[in-house]
């Protein structure tokens, strides 16, 4: 656990310019993915005449409230490739952006509680290793060595039968990640425009040529959507139907505690994931609600279920107090994998469907989406994640490795 003080807030990190009448590229959504896309458009492709439009405030949505977990232990080759690319980018971003956002590679345990979990976990660890992703299978006594506060007694309702362990996984301070990306994108010439809601699209036939906003029309050579839970609402205004459903996902934090939890623990079976933030809060997440929702709040029984699991796994948490709960809207695809893709509308691109796991993918989402927007063609890493897979049937079914019920 890092005991370093948090980074100072700089006086200002970006300009707040008025929108110009025209840009080469307009990105809709100034969350982590939108900001990373703008950063890599400028850095990797030299495209700096870019605006990022945000209806609220910069990184104020899911980027401001998530459980900050970063890992790349996905099952399929396509997923391992893109999430591992993200992890490698994470490993160099603090230096590259010259901003210490407290990236802490403390490892992640994905627990197994049933024989089927054990089989799935060992299979995934082996698949990870074949893909160059660090992964181990740990027996219960080894799990206890990594995380001594975890109850690995066989006399629990869902005993820990083992776990996958990815040592290079970890957490980062999400809002500092956003600010680091925003500052550097701004320095490279990108206009970050807050309080600017996209209400419609300007089209010339089947080609998008700009956006309508509450601040007026903005012409754009190309438009990239990175609006997470509201992607389908936005895309519909451009005449594009997306295979996503929006669900509330909730999480909570406790009051501050002494450092007790040295790693990240996730359990798909009993539905809880826990890490301890740098300041000391226990950060816990659960599954999504079962039904569609844009209300930014989740069901109480989901929290109840998650807390019951947390207390059984971590008896030491039994007297911790919940400080804050929140719910965000996530867009989920039928195969629990993201969509980074061209669309039937020319010059309109979409990055969505990250479900509950968008934070970890931030750098790779930005990297590949920037490539797709800059060149009009997918990067090899995001080619399998195109919209076409729902027509061809070449799905990337990651419900197991998504680690959250959705």
């Amino acid at each position: 656990m890092s005991t370093e003080p948090l980074p100072e807030h700089p006086d200002f990190l970006w300009r707040n310019p008025e929108p110009r009448s025209s840009y080469d590229v307009v990105i809709v959504g100034a969350g982590g993915h939108g900001l990373a896309t703008a950063y890599y458009l400028a850095k990797n492709h030299g495209i700096t005449n870019v605006a990022v439009l945000e209806k609220g405030w910069l990184a104020g949505g899911n980027m401001a409230r998530n459980t900050t977990i970063i890992r790349s232990n996905y099952l399929w080759d396509e997923s391992a490739a893109i999430y591992e690319h993200a992890l490698k980018l994470w490993e160099r971003l603090p230096e590259e952006l010259d901003y210490d956002f407290l990236f802490s590679q403390r490892g992640v345990l994905n627990l197994a509680h049933t024989l089927q979990d054990v089989r799935e976990g060992t299979r995934r660890a082996n698949a990870n290793r074949l893909n160059g992703v660090d992964a181990e299978w740990l027996e219960p006594d080894e799990v206890a060595k990594v995380c001594p506060i975890l109850n690995v007694s066989p006399r629990t309702r869902y005993p820990v039968l083992g776990a996958t362990f990815q040592p290079r996984a970890g957490i980062a301070k999400h809002d500092h990640v956003a600010w680091a990306l925003a500052r550097r994108a701004d320095e490279l010439g990108v206009d970050l425009i807050q309080g600017c809601e996209v209400t419609g699209f300007l089209k010339d036939g089947d080609r998008v040529v700009g956006v309508e906003t509450n601040l007026g029309r903005i012409n754009a050579g190309r438009v990239g959507l990175a609006a997470a839970g509201h992607s389908s609402v936005l895309a519909e205004r451009a005449g594009v139907r997306l295979p996503v459903q929006s669900y509330p996902l909730q999480a909570l934090v406790s009051e501050l505690h002494e450092p007790v939890h040295p790693t990240v623990v996730m359990s798909n079976h009993v539905h809880v994931y826990v890490s301890q933030a740098h300041k000391g809060e226990l950060v816990m997440g659960a599954g999504v609600d079962s039904y569609n929702g844009y209300g930014q709040r989740g069901s109480f029984h989901v929290i109840e279920h998650q807390m019951a699991a947390a207390v059984e796994l971590f008896p030491i948490f039994a007297r911790a107090h919940v400080l804050r709960t929140w719910g965000g809207v996530v867009d989920v695809t039928p195969d629990a994998s993201p969509i980074i893709s061209t669309t039937p509308v020319e010059n309109l691109y979409v990055n969505c469907g990250w479900g509950t796991g968008g934070f970890k993918g931030t750098p790779a989402a930005g990297w590949t989406f920037a490539h797709t927007i800059a060149t009009g063609e997918p990067h090899p890493l995001n080619a399998p994640f195109a919209l076409e897979r729902f027509t061809t049937g070449a799905l990337i079914d990651e419900h197991g490795a998504a680690a959250v019920a959705h």
Partner: protein, 98 residues
């Protein structure tokens, strides 16, 4: 927690039910004529509205029957619930559970 009214059992807590996604999605009438794009639409594409949404629920721990619910996806207000052989109500009554 949602209070959902089963057409047969009456109002019960959300936890008695299981969610089944969008209602009124018909199996294609002439499946042999569908191309891949149309099959994708049928299998993978669903509406995702911000507002009233007709959806299916099953009363898992009660009568175990499927029925439809008209629910607002922003306010989570249950606007109506009705049997599968009934049409989607045209004018939802705000504030009700049936």
């Amino acid at each position: 927690m949602l209070l959902i009214s089963c057409p047969w059992c009456g109002p019960r807590d959300e936890t008695e039910y299981h969610y089944g996604g969008q209602a009124h999605v018909r199996y294609p009438e002439t499946p042999a004529d569908l191309d891949d794009r149309q099959w994708a639409e049928y299998v993978f594409y669903r509406d995702n509205p911000k507002g009233p949404f007709a959806e299916r629920w099953v009363h898992s721990t009660g009568c175990r029957r499927w029925f439809n619910v008209l629910r607002d996806t922003v306010t989570y207000e249950v606007l109506a619930s009705y049997r599968l052989d009934e049409p989607r109500p045209e004018l939802p009554q705000a504030g009700g559970n049936r």
